[in-house]
């Protein structure tokens, strides 16, 4: 199980599409690490990101973090909110790193217009590169729970056992966040977290 890399910095790359909650997921991871006493840096490129473009968020925590961006080939965990986006960024994983991928496809207009093809099987391509990929349909789980936006919490649940702190700590952070902002959504987010956790375990 990957915990921390050689330099004791944990690198988590969250990749997806503007509007999917990539930044929120990264924010929650960063806040949780901060609460655990780590030095944390988190970065992304915003601006155009909310217009359906590629968005990645880098979360780094450890004793002392200097440069904010994860160097290619050094990510411990890749959280892919969309399979083609996971494939796009998979070379950022270090050898032995883990990719946690939602298989819910979201094709951009340029694919729908027939200008480009969607890869046949992004997850298989990643596996062919020797990457430890865990893939499941987080979108379907979120929809079954009644709200597509829950994908975020589902994915966090899925990676919770790969972190250097316990899944319960991450869950508490998420639920506290909703308790403060949208108390009605605490219960459903707890279900989403647990569903993500189970889905990841079932896959491995």
């Amino acid at each position: 199980m990957p915990n921390v890399s050689d330099n004791d910095i944990t690198n988590i790359l969250v990749a997806g599409i503007g509007g999917q909650g990539v930044m929120t997921a990264a924010e929650i991871l960063a806040q949780t690490a901060l609460a655990q006493g780590y030095d944390v840096k988190k970065t992304e490129v915003a601006g155009m990101a909310q217009r359906g473009g590629v968005v990645t968020s880098h979360v780094r925590f450890g004793q002392r973090v200097l440069s904010p961006a994860i160097p290619p080939g050094e990510a411990d965990i890749l959280v892919g909110f969309e399979p083609a986006e996971a494939l796009r960024w998979c070379s950022h994983l270090r050898p032995g790193g883990v990719a946690m991928v939602s298989t819910t496809r979201q094709a951009p207009p340029v694919v729908n217009l027939g200008l480009f093809d969607y890869p046949d099987d992004p997850v298989a391509e990643m596996q062919a590169r020797g990457i430890d990929v865990h893939a499941f349909d987080a979108g379907a789980i979120a929809r079954d729970l009644g709200n597509f936006r829950l994908v975020n919490t589902v994915m966090l649940g899925a990676i919770s056992r790969y972190l250097p702190f316990s899944p319960e700590i991450l869950k508490a952070q998420i639920l506290d966040r909703f308790r403060a902002r949208k108390p009605k959504l605490v219960e459903i987010n707890e279900k989403a977290f647990e569903a993500g956790r189970k889905a990841a375990e079932a896959d491995s």
Binding site: I17, G18, E27, A30, L34, D39, V40, K41, K42, T43, E44, V45, A46, G47, M48, A49, Q50, R51, G52, G53, V54, V65, L66, S67, P68, A69, P71, P72, G73, A84, E85, L87, R88, W89, C90, S91, H92, A107, P108, P109, V110, V111, N112, L113, G114, L115, F116, D117, Y118, P119, P122, E125, G146, N147, F148
Partner: protein, 620 residues
């Protein structure tokens, strides 16, 4: 917190009383956070020049003042800056300018440190959020101590990086005594007065140069590996420290004026000196001019962001060590319209590009649908979400230069047209915010000089591209409170457009929009078509029940795909042979009902009426 939030907090702590900005990535959040401190006056200004002028006035009135902008904003504000540097300040005046290194959301890449040299004002360069906070406070102190505006130079990797920040503490109450003091010899920059201020400016710069050599902002982090010593500023310092933890580094917090003696000293203590800066070789040129042997952009990239994995191979090469191939940072997306996706050579990964798109139900979609169907046009565009109209599927925007340029460029396309373009229809597309920022003057130039231009003024009542900030078109101020709402029809009339040449249309009413456009491009005088539906990102946008596709009725014509709405997707493709023997590609579609807001635009492009309201729809 992010670097932007840290700047806002630092300004508040330093007792800043007035803060003004025009939104622009990556600087926007500075004023958003500043506005949460209600004991500080904050405003969205109409453009960066006005924001700087407001800050100048506040400074002269005895208050500390901040203005924030992106790099291209300082081009606009530079007219004020270049004379303000002669006047100097009373209350501390800080200009926070954020460079979009790597062009995530800008029309160019600029190095704002040039302005420090050009205007002879000091430049501070924080490396992370903590420093952004601390240096903002320092900037106000320096400003008052030396009587100069101070540039706080940020980059995306400071603005948008969240890190741990320990705040300095309570807000200082800081007001300079005496209020606004009349002093024409200093404040009225006629030639006679300005002439006397220039030597004072140079004298100030020399004092700052001495200070730069002594201050804590410029310091050496010692290291045992003396093969290479580094000079670095801003986030580049962090990259150097991460990549070469054992090398000595001179970190320049105050990078202009640069502490040349300190640099010379370090050069004498190491085998080779390397300067690492984003993004132009500014320090490098100055260091070389001082006769110090230094390596810089010979081995480091001159565009885009630096990072440890960019530095390592470059330095290994310099040391004559084997260069291990490092994977590329971001897989480069192939240009649109490429027949097939090219392999990324560095990673061997093959994925389609995912360029930014307009939002689901964006009021601009209908405009570009119409523009893409009109032939024989030249369309000058502007800066905003609607710049995306240059992309697929519309390809209906031909130029983008800078804020407001659509107006003047359109007039120039008209006046400079050659025989080949005799019948070309000249159209300009500009958003509400950009029009108020710098477009109104251009429109006046069009009317005054009898230009033949049809102007599409896309009023979505917000600054869309930066996240929907309020502006005078919203009728709300920076706090979301009621403010005056601008009347574009009356502005256009006042700028000389005939009343009958101004149309206000709902951009979702495709036939009405199309008719107005068709008619106005035929008339050889300036006309303005104002669209009046709000940005989908603002709170007063009202979503309606979602739409869906009746699969039995869909004929696969693909017309709705030309709208370019990201909620419409293809379910299957089919090739059929028409009676005339030609092959035709069919694309059957469906709608992502979770994303659709029922704007009712796409049904108007659907011949067989296959796009229908979703039964039993409820929005969560």
């Amino acid at each position: 917190m992010s670097g932007n939030e840290a700047v806002a907090l630092g300004a508040w702590t330093a007792g800043c009383r007035v803060a003004a900005a025009y939104p622009g990535t990556p600087s926007t959040e500075i004023l958003e956070y500043a506005s949460q401190h209600r004991d500080m006056y904050t405003e969205w200004s109409i453009n960066e020049k006005v924001s700087l002028e407001v800050a100048i006035g506040a400074s002269l009135a005895g208050s500390r003042a901040l203005c924030a902008m992106k790099h291209v904003g300082l081009n606009v504000a530079s007219d004020a800056l270049m004379t303000q540097t002669l006047v100097g300040v009373k209350g501390g005046l800080v200009i926070a300018v954020a460079d979009d290194v790597g062009l995530s959301s800008s029309q160019n890449e600029q190095d704002s440190r040039h302005w420090g040299r050009f205007a002879h004002v000091p430049v501070l360069e924080p490396a992370d959020a903590q420093e952004a906070h601390d240096m903002t406070i320092t900037a106000f102190d320096l400003s008052e101590r030396f009587g100069t505006p101070v540039i706080l130079r940020l980059t995306t990797r400071v603005c948008h990086v969240k890190g741990v920040v320990v705040p300095a503490g309570e807000r200082q109450e800081h007001v300079l005594p005496g209020g606004f003091e009349k002093n024409p010899a200093r404040l009225v920059m006629t030639p006679a007065n300005a002439r006397h201020r220039i030597p004072l400016m140079y004298q100030r710069e020399e004092e700052l140069r001495r200070y730069s050599g002594e201050c804590e902002l410029n310091r050496i982090t010692e290291g045992d590996d003396r093969r290479i010593g580094f000079v670095a500023s801003g986030p580049a310092f962090m990259h150097v420290r991460e990549a070469f933890p054992d090398a000595p580094v001179l970190k320049l917090g105050l990078s202009h004026p640069a502490p040349m003696e300190q640099i010379r000293q370090l050069a004498g203590q190491v085998e080779q000196l390397v300067v690492v800066e984003e993004v132009e070789p500014i320090l490098e040129t100055e260091i070389k001019a001082a006769g110090i042997d230094v390596v810089g952009k010979e081995i480091l990239p001159r565009i885009g962001e630096l990072a440890p994995h960019v530095l390592r191979p470059a330095i290994a090469g310099l040391l004559g060590e084997p260069v291990t191939e490092e994977p590329a940072t971001a897989p480069a997306a192939p240009p649109a319209k490429a027949p097939e996706v090219k392999l990324d050579p560095a990673t061997g990964i093959q994925v389609f590009p995912r360029p930014p798109t307009m939002c689901v139900a964006c009021p601009h979609l209908g405009i570009y649908y119409c523009l893409s169907k009109i032939k024989n046009t030249s369309i000058s565009g502007d800066i905003g979400c609607y710049t995306l109209g240059a992309g697929e599927p519309w390809n209906a925007l031909d130029t983008t230069i800078c804020m407001g340029a659509s107006m003047g460029v359109a007039l120039g396309l008209d006046k400079g047209r050659t025989e080949e373009d005799r019948d070309k229809k000249i159209i300009a597309v500009i958003g509400d915010s950009t029009f108020m920022h710098m477009g109104m003057q251009g429109l006046l130039d069009i009317t005054y000089n009898r230009g033949n231009v049809t102007i599409l003024l896309l009023d979505n009542r917000a600054v869309g591209m930066t996240g929907g900030q309020f502006n005078p078109a919203s009728g709300r101020d920076i706090h979301g409170e009621e403010a005056m709402q601008v009347d574009f029809r009356r502005i256009c009339e006042a700028l000389g457009v005939k009343s009958e040449r101004i149309h206000e249309v709902n951009p979702y009413e495709l036939p009405v929009l199309f008719k107005a456009l068709r008619e106005e491009i035929k008339i050889p005088e300036p006309s303005v078509i104002i669209t009046n539906q709000p940005c989908v990102l603002v709170e007063f946008y009202g979503a309606r029940p979602a739409l869906t596709v009746d699969a039995e009725k869909c004929t696969g014509c693909g017309n709705c795909l030309d709208v370019g709405c990201p909620a419409i997707f293809v379910t299957r493709r089919e090739t059929v042979v028409k009676p005339n023997g030609k092959e035709k590609e069919l694309a059957f579609v469906d709608i992502d009902t979770a994303a659709c807001t029922g704007c009712d635009l796409c049904p108007r492009t659907c011949g067989p009426d296959a796009i229908v309201p979703l039964e039993g729809f409820s929005r969560q």
